[in-house]
Amino acid sequence: MSEPQLAGGIDAALVLRAQQGEMVAFEVLVVKYQRRVAATIRRLVHDDRIAEELTQEAFLSVFVALPGFKPDGEFAAWLFTIARNAARSYLRSAQNRQDDRPVQWLDEAGDSDRFGVAPSPEEQAMAHQLFERIDAEVAALPELQRRALLMREIDGLDYKAIAAALEQPVNTVKSHIFRAREAIANRARPLLAPTRDRRW
């Protein structure tokens, strides 16, 4: 590849495109971060349904404030700050209420469309099966592929740091991680098919 890679990383590039009106760029950011945002909020509010509402609110707030965000800033840090603030604001308002009735928006009609319903035992079993398959595939990877992948996904290291730790060239590390992801996806794909209509 002769052209330079995206300056500032993929998030900055997607933010910039979203600021220019490309909704699909913001959708990629939602797909990329929604589980982490939801998990952050869930840890604070301890309620799945409220966490989902606040996750939606956080992304909506980010989207509304996007025109004022500087693309050279750290998008993820900004997003998680807004998410945590949404959760803290909810907790403060819950403390201030005289009773423990749910807040108004949770009583509205049509909630099942807006927030979904709790996963059924079948859905939970399918998810369990999927993640077991992924674990098994990770365990079966060649050692360098597995170590590189886990450094990337679990430790959050960048390619350069992984290359230094494994004493391998950066491009070799990229290739190992790429092949590992392809192998895992190939094995997981049959288990992903039944939930196709629930993804982006």
């Binding site: 699909v24 990629v28 939602v30 509304v64 992924i134 982006w200």
Partner: protein, 70 residues
């Protein structure tokens, strides 16, 4: 598949990103590949929630807010 991985990693040029975003608007299989690859990444990182339409509901809320604002 390669394109989905390269998008999530940011392993592409600005021109390639432009093309990929254009494809994502029309290519449901590519959108699914991006979402599935992210699901796997999140799973590896310990975020193991069922695939129950969470992101679709966020996107529906965003679209609703956008159309309401017009």
């Amino acid at each position: 598949m390669n394109d989905a991985l390269r998008l999530l990693d940011g392993d592409l040029t600005g021109a390639e990103l432009t093309l990929l975003l254009e494809r994502l608007k029309h290519d449901a299989a590519l959108r699914d590949e991006v979402a599935a690859q992210q699901l796997i990444r999140d799973g590896l990182a310990g975020l193991r929630t069922p695939d129950d339409g969470y992101s679709l509901r966020i996107l529906a809320r965003l679209r609703g807010a956008r159309s309401g604002a017009k």
